[in-house]
Amino acid sequence: MTQVRFLFRRIAFYAVTAWAAITMNFLIPRLMPGSPADTVLSRFKGQVSQAQVDAVKAQLGVSDKSLMSQYWTYWDNLLHGDLGVSVSYFPGRVSEVIGQGVWWTVVLIGVATLVSFVAGTLLGVLAAWKRGSRLDALLPVTTFFSAVPYFWIALVSLSVFGVELGWFPITGGYRPELQVGWSGEFISSALSHSVLPALTIIVSSIAGWLLGMRNMMLTTISEDYVLVAEAKGLRSRRVMLGYAARNALLPNISGFALSLGFIVSGSIVTETVFSYPGIGFLLFNAVLNNDYPLMQGIFLIITLMVLLANLIVDLCYVLLDPRIRQEG
């Protein structure tokens, strides 16, 4: 059927994109002058024996073999979840370092982005439906917060709610003396640490969703099918959601797919300001320390997550828009 064909084509497209990204990830550091091993070794300022050099090279996956055989080894390692050894966390493995950080980011920034999208979209629907009412006050207020640079919001909220009022912890993802796990104490600590970073993300991004949805709603509200829905004597809520908002949602979903791509990269500022132990914070440290293997691993994870997010949004789109299924 057309839907299934469409889906297969999308999945094939993402598979090819993922392959290209992974290959680039392999090629770029190898085409650059110098090698990660040199970076590590340069920190020891030449006070290393040849045996140590070989050991470091072996751990970082640098060899003198042909590019092709290196490529196969790279894939083999990748499929075993082996991304090499981190320089700054030496001799910690990149996959472990990322594995510890990625969940903080996915949960914090992912949930904050989702909440912002859902709340902004719903408010946009209401703002359009009840235009001229007091809800119009939402527009300038939210626009103000989206116009202010994000780091400024983050710093101000940190100093006001964290330092001055002391309502929320100012650094980290949880109280350091706690064990990471499913204990109630840990979870409540993690939650209170996440409030400020999450709120700053929501406050600074909600206006985009709200305005986008409101404008699309204003367009669909003037469509004939909305007039017909009213003429049919449907309840106002049904007309608003099932007819106007349902159609206005489609372009906003594409915007959401794009924004998912910025989750991880956008997390750098958030996590740096709040010293949050996520991927952005790791990337920041990796850059400071010239930790190429870690950077490479993080870029790979970012790429794959963006592709996965887009695939999921594509699936939603297929379910939501019957016209897509046909054009394929």
């Binding site: 003037s222 469509e223 004939d224 099918y225 007039l227 017909v228 829905a229 009213e230 003429a231 049919k232 004597g233 449907l234 309840r235 106002s236 049904r238 099932g242 007819y243 349902r246 159609n247 489609l250 939501l320 828009d321 019957p322 016209r323 046909q326």
Partner: protein, 357 residues
């Protein structure tokens, strides 16, 4: 729609002094101005006039579907409910309520119950009248569910299948989306949807304008047949007077937001009185009878923001005399034509403007 079916009954919908403005103050567009119109039971009333004469505005105002900046600034829309039907349109056992209801005074719940149950509309641009993300069935079903709480899915399905076959669309198309249907099909689906609750009145706002001539004919024939089958009354809006003379029992002509002539379709065609109507009738080839010379109407429609004093048509009227640019002609019944109303100073026996309606 055919002479056979013109066993016209009592008034069903009475529009009295309806006035609609777009905007306020000096810049307001007076799109409908003091219109009186009566639709009788089982009647097909045609409403014709140039583009911009206020036909759609009138239809929207009657069903209270006007959108800002459109506002109803005066008048009444009286609906004479069928004996024994209560406000929600359901047949009740209690004593029949007497007297008509004013649609313009209805509360929101009353209005919701009234819409589609009593008056269904097929809009001018049916191409976009179907929600692109729901199937035909879903859109018929939500109408049924809104007005018949407790109806089952199977019943909705059955009703949808019946309605679609009635308008000549295969029942299997109920699971189609709008983009999978041709223009003619969409229009038929809209008509099927309009009939879902067996309404008393069907408002057709240029139902065939977007279709090609062949499909136009088919849809019209279908409408004529359906009217005979279901017995609803029709308000048929179009700028194509020749079409109306075929399908309508009575025709009202609008010019610049006012009704300027109304008469049985036959009489309008045979003996138009108002110079504007005469111009309209002369501007299309006769359907039967001898050929005659075609003539358009010179000039262009007036600016509704600043109508000329007196008769709005006077600047374009070859017969205009001084009184036409001074007094607004009101609808009156010319001598010897009991079925006809004209708003024109020509042949007016009274020297002064009279109030007789």
């Amino acid at each position: 729609m055919s002479p056979v079916a013109s066993a016209v009954g009592a008034p069903l919908l009475e529009i009295r002094g309806l006035t609609v403005d777009y905007g306020e103050g000096p810049g307001a567009v007076h799109a409908v101005d003091n219109v009186d119109l009566v639709l009788h039971r089982s009647e097909t009333l045609g409403l014709a006039g140039e583009s911009g004469s206020g036909k759609s505005t009138l239809a929207h105002a009657v069903t209270r579907l006007l959108r800002p900046p459109g506002t109803i600034t005066g008048g009444q829309v009286l609906y004479h409910r069928r004996e024994g039907k209560d406000a929600a349109g359901h047949v009740s056992d209690g004593p029949a309520r007497s007297g008509p209801v004013n649609v313009l005074d209805m509360t929101r719940p009353e209005l919701r119950a009234f819409r589609w149950e009593e008056i269904a509309i097929v809009f001018q641009s049916a191409m976009n009248a179907l929600n692109p993300v729901h199937t035909v069935l879903a859109q018929i079903a939500d109408t049924l569910k809104a007005h018949r709480p407790g109806i089952t899915r199977a019943e909705c399905r059955e009703r949808a299948a019946h309605l679609l076959t009635t308008v000549g669309v295969p029942a299997a198309r109920m699971s189609a989306y709008a983009h999978e249907l041709s223009g003619g099909m969409r229009q038929r689906v809209m008509i099927a949807m309009a009939l879902a609750l067996d309404p008393e009145i069907l408002v057709l706002d240029e139902p065939t304008t977007a279709l090609d001539v062949v499909v136009q004919r088919e849809v019209l024939a279908e409408l004529v047949r359906l009217r005979e089958e279901f017995g609803f009354s029709v308000l048929f809006i179009t700028h194509d007077l020749s079409l109306l003379l075929e399908v309508a029992d009575r025709v009202a002509i609008m010019y610049a937001g006012r009704v300027i002539e109304s008469a049985p379709a036959e009489e309008v065609y045979r003996d138009p009185v108002h110079p504007y109507t005469r111009g309209l009738v002369a501007s299309f080839p006769p359907l039967r009878g001898p050929r005659r010379e075609l003539a358009g109407i010179g000039g262009s429609p007036p600016d509704l923001r600043a109508l000329p004093p007196g008769c709005a048509f006077s600047p374009r009227c070859r017969h205009a005399f001084d009184r036409c640019t001074r007094d607004l002609p009101l609808l009156r019944r010319p001598a010897g034509a009991p079925e006809r109303l004209v708003a024109c100073h020509l042949d007016d026996p009274n020297g002064s403007a009279d109030d007789e309606r």
